[in-house]
Symmetry: C2
Subunit: 220 residues, 2 copies
DNA sequence: TTAAAAGTGTAACCGATGTTACACTCCAGA
DNA sequence: TCTGGAGTGTAACATCGGTTACACTTTTAA
């Protein structure tokens, strides 16, 4: 789930000995025991931290889109890279290790040097942040739709942009309900009503849009 | 509202003749008449576009946080800069001019050259995107709280982090309700209940947190 | 093959929030 | 000073979605 998510491409190889890292890069690596509080909410974020071993938890929006709750981050991944360069550069949440963890730390000015000297690193960094913005924007659009049928419509129309009018989801209803941040029976109720209205048809995880116009009207 | 928003710092001076731009920069400027569709949803985004004159509208989340609806963008501001470097580099929405507009276009490879040759430009670009991520993350946290009292609690606790237990908001109740994406009478009802419970007290736009613990319990 | 677990359909009920309506206060401008 | 508009408090009612419960189906694993 974590590492093949397109949202996080670009940092997989940071802990390998590849051309992204010049030999004179200043960095440090620190090991943390299990259940250690690594960063406290409000800590200032003056370096790029990359989790290269182990896993940690925070309380952000999760990357698979489920709402709030605990996010579990597995290596290799950067920790809150957006906060290194933002105007308010303090950690937004607590970060705690779930198991023994190893964290790479590159000071901010070294990151800047790295970016100017290694355009590939810069591009990866920017691509990473850009993907994150897309992801968040998309989730926000979905969440700001108030009705369940509206959320479903938005989601299905998005799917159909990529896959046409018939497609198979890789989530079951329970997961879909989590994704939307609603209760499972409520989702089922809305889905069956929409099917009854002839707007969609459902066969297990295969969804068919029968009436795109009707679907669009549900967006409000 | 638009230009003094910290979310968009870093691009104010892009249309001025300052040191950020080398003399050999390749760019083009195009003028559009009123009510012209400039970008269509799905158009591929292969350059950095900066609105330097006029205003346009899109259907994103608005920068002052109000939900969905139309976002009006006034010059000077970059248009969807996150989509230039994301893996899926196509415009997320339609963009239409509201009045005559002037748009600066810098091709992607020129942007890359600019960033490697002008560290300040790179820093501004990254800071801009980082701020956007913070903004979106924060909105997402707020929106994913389901109850009205929960949203209020989250918001007030955030304010109190910066301003202490008593502070004055620059929004009235109507605007606050829009910001939360709820109905105005519902907000008023919840606020008065919270005041009755002794958790907060309200005097016009001045809010005082009387019981921070009780407030935190409302977050769920 | 079969039993257990996971997933789904659906109904009854209830609480939270939206809708609508109206009265009241406050303030700005005529 | 008066008046109209914006902002606010609040009540009655409608609606949506959450909760709980249970039966049924499908998948998984023994």
């Amino acid at each position: 789930m974590t590492n093949n998510n397109p949202e996080w491409t670009g940092f997989e190889n940071l802990n390998e000995d590849n051309e992204l890292f010049p030999s004179d890069l200043k960095y440090s690596i620190k090991n943390y025991p299990k259940n250690e509080l690594i960063f406290r909410q409000g800590d200032s974020c003056d370096a790029l931290y990359i989790l290269i071993q182990g896993s940690v938890k925070t309380e952000m929006i999760t990357e698979n889109g489920n709402l709030l709750g605990i996010e579990i981050i597995k290596a290799p991944r950067p920790l809150a890279p957006a906060f290194l360069f933002s105007d308010n550069n303090s950690f937004p949440v607590d970060v705690t290790t779930l198991e023994e963890a190893e964290i790479l730390r590159i000071p901010k000015d070294e990151v800047i040097r790295l970016m100017t000297s290694q355009p590939d690193f810069m591009k990866q960094f920017i691509t990473h942040n850009s993907n994150r913005i897309q992801f968040l924007t998309n989730r926000l659009q979905l969440l700001s739709i108030k009705t369940i049928k509206g959320k479903i419509a938005y989601f299905l129309l998005e799917q159909s942009k990529e896959h046409g009018l018939t497609f198979t989801l890789n989530r079951n209803q329970t997961e879909l309900a989590d994704f939307f941040g609603i209760a499972r029976p409520s989702l089922a109720r809305s889905l069956s009503e929409m099917a009854q209205d002839g707007i969609i048809s459902i066969n297990k995880k295969e969804y068919t849009i029968l009436n795109p116009k009707g679907l669009r009207e549900l967006l409000v």
